[in-house]
Amino acid sequence: MSFIRPKFRHPELPKNALGYTVDYYEGALSTLCAGCGHDSIGAGVVQACFEMNIEPHRLAKLSGIGCSSKTPNYFLSNSHGFNSVHGRMPSVATGANLANRDLIYLGVSGDGDTASIGMGQFVHVIRRNINMIYIVMNNGCYGLTKGQDSATSDNGSKNKTGVMNVYESIDLASLAIELGATFVAQSFSGDKAQLIPLIKAGMQHPGFAFINVISPCVTFNNNVGSTKSYDYVRQHIEATSTVDFVPEMTEITTTYKSGVTQKIGMHDGSSIQLHKIAQDWDPLDRQSAMNAVKLSKKNNEILTGLLFMDPDAKDLHQLLQTTEKPLNSLSQSLLCPGSEMLKQINEDFR
């Protein structure tokens, strides 16, 4: 970890529309290893929130257990945080979201937290389309317990001691697409230019937004032979497109110039602008997204960028038809039917 973070800030740091400078979005000093990919993702969250003019207190950050799940402490110190139990962040986020639909929910998890102990909750949070952004900081290993393989470690990948993983890996992005996730992206902690617009778009997406971010573990899984090392990822990365997130576009249109640019309009007026690179891929078509991911895997490539999106999906509140007001704001007079009504209820049991 880095022990000293200079307090000095440039006196003329740019301010966002709310008048905040970027440091207002920072958190406690990170205790992760120097060079950890997770800290880059945290910095991406800070930048995205700053640029999106988010009031930090209107965002709740939730996580499970592990190195990745520690990171919410290291950004957005003006947000409430909840470091829950291992693999169970999705349920806590679901409950929190049900209690107050007006906040932004940022879930942070790791590959152990999501693909192993938390797999059950992960698949069900997808089914329910909770309006949240769910970032997996995926390094293919268990950092806090010193480098054991995780379920996303690729078959054939070597760990620090040279031992090869013999098991099939779980590909979280294709799993999420398969299960009906309404926003699925993949990125690399070393590619901020791509990651930040994806985080922004994910936060704006009115449903479950999943971003699987390859985030090398510099201490336990950055060796030769590992498929989650910085070098390997840089050599094998492929992008579906370059991504721009445009916050308040005036008109909602989907224009698609074949093979070049695609804009995906969102209902709140923002849009995602994709400058497409991948061929035969349509981010609005689940099947073609699945094909693109599978094909890249076959070619030993890591496909990044926005993979799939369904901008029209209904989130859990819409599915349950809950009131527009946050449930935690309802008054006793609305919630409690009162004594006269109870007399009638008693009558039904006589």
Binding site: F82, S84, V92, A96, L98, N100, L320, L327, N328, C336
Partner: protein, 610 residues
Amino acid sequence: MSLSTLKVNDFVVRFANVNGSGSASANFLFTKAIFRMGIFVTPKNIFPSNIQGLPTWYEVRISEKGYLGRREGIDLMVCVNPQSMASDVAAVKPGGYFLYDSSKNLHDQYIRDDIHYIAIPLMEMCNNAFTDPRQRQLFKNIIYVGALSALFGIEFKMLEDLLAEQFKGKEKLIPANIKALNLGIEWVHQNHIYPLDIRVERRDLIGDRIMIDGNAACGLGALYAGASVAAWYPITPSTSVIEAFASFSDSYRVDPVTGKKNVAIVQAEDELSAIGMVIGANWNGARSFTSTSGPGLSLMNEFLGLAYFAEVPAVLIDVQRTGPSTGMPTRTQQSDILLAAYASHGDTKHVLVFPATPKECFELTADAFDLADELQTPVILMTDLDLGMNDHISEPLKWDDERAYKKGKVLDAEALEKIDKFGRYLDIDGDGIVYRTYPATHPSKGSFFTRGSSRDEYARYTEDSAAYKRNVDRLTKKWNIAKNMVPLPQLYQDKNASSIGILFFGTSTFSAEEAMDILRDQGLVVDAIRLRAFPFSQTVLDFIDVHERVFVIEQNRDAQMKSLLTIELQIDPKKLIPVLNYDGMPITADTILNTMKESTFVLSKFKKIA
């Protein structure tokens, strides 16, 4: 018939049916008709873990004295299930009655010479009267209800009224039901002496009482307490808590203008997720609860430890069933006590409340939400299958409109403005109960990090031993404060009158009260206390202290409440004598009395009433 055998409003009827054959509504009709005649009646559903085909029983105790516990010994058995006939014949008390479907001859092995047989050709009558196969099946049940009404003297108008209520909106179904009832009545009139020497007579004992199951009352309690998020996983016998909550929510939580719901109910993928959602919602300021049973509570242990340590409110309704493991899913027990009290690893303790009646299911569920918010900790309502799934006669449910939800120490934006630095775990009031904030309260004040790891007063992660110890010692302080906040125990006497005490809780209450009555009739007096909560208040300790011996009545094998009392109150275990019932059936007064009488040492100490 001699007068000595005449039993008015004091007998037990058991129905032996096939699961899934439509007997439940017919049997309920029988029970409710007696209730409407102003007589105390207690039904117990003894059902299999099965959808269709296995034997199921419905046992009804009718009691002029108002005893609501179960009683051993069947006075009249209605047997329409050949599968269970051998044991059903054997279960009838000498001198009792065995009513059966005589469409087929009764095998010789079922003939006892010490009981009476009432042979009604139910199937034959049904086949002659109805053509539709489903009606032929269903109305067999209604015919025997008609026959019983004649045999016992149940007022026909009560049955008629109940059918009219049941089929409101589907009136065309009523005549066929009336026809079936009359078939049974006419058969008795033509073939049997009626009424029997066991019979019912109208009384005015019920007053304004209601008949409701505990689970429905819990669901209503959660509704009235303002629960707006419910998360659950289906499990017998707790499922009907959420079903009741959902059904009442459909009536009382839908915005009349928008049609949108002021409630969110989610069926989770498992109990881990259910309790996680409950904790997430409570953390975010919405009252939220789950209902479960033993196996679910086992799974929820991890999260309960988090909620205890991170101090997040949560309400759980544990409808206990027979354990361990899957045990007997459709039988009752009070066997989750130690699991619930100390759920999760490390030093954990949880607040428990023990309702004994549907009225208390309603009240204590509502109280549990206040307690959880005030103490910022999980509160577990310990009910059971017997109370939860069986209809009980209960005092009517009451709600005081002056009652305001106690949300505990929650700081709003205005309060945060006034303080310099918010410390989530700072014991400002010296009672161990700290201040919390909901997310999104204030732009720059009041945010904190909730975690299950050790933290200091400002919610900052720490591995400092002193800070850890300060925190867990504060939790103990809070625990001690809770002793004076939880529902008080019920003492049955103003002044102690015996060196012997009895102690009980939950569904052991009815039979314990009956046992006390019987003892009193024999000139023996005991003092009694009913627990309503854990942690135990001083009253509980005082009661045990002043008595030479205390019988602890409970429904589990290992005397779990005795253990809990011994551990928590530092009592000599020899002082507490266990009275245990754990075969899955609700405890009876006879079981209690027999165990007490076996304890010869104690019996000699009974103080006789002068």
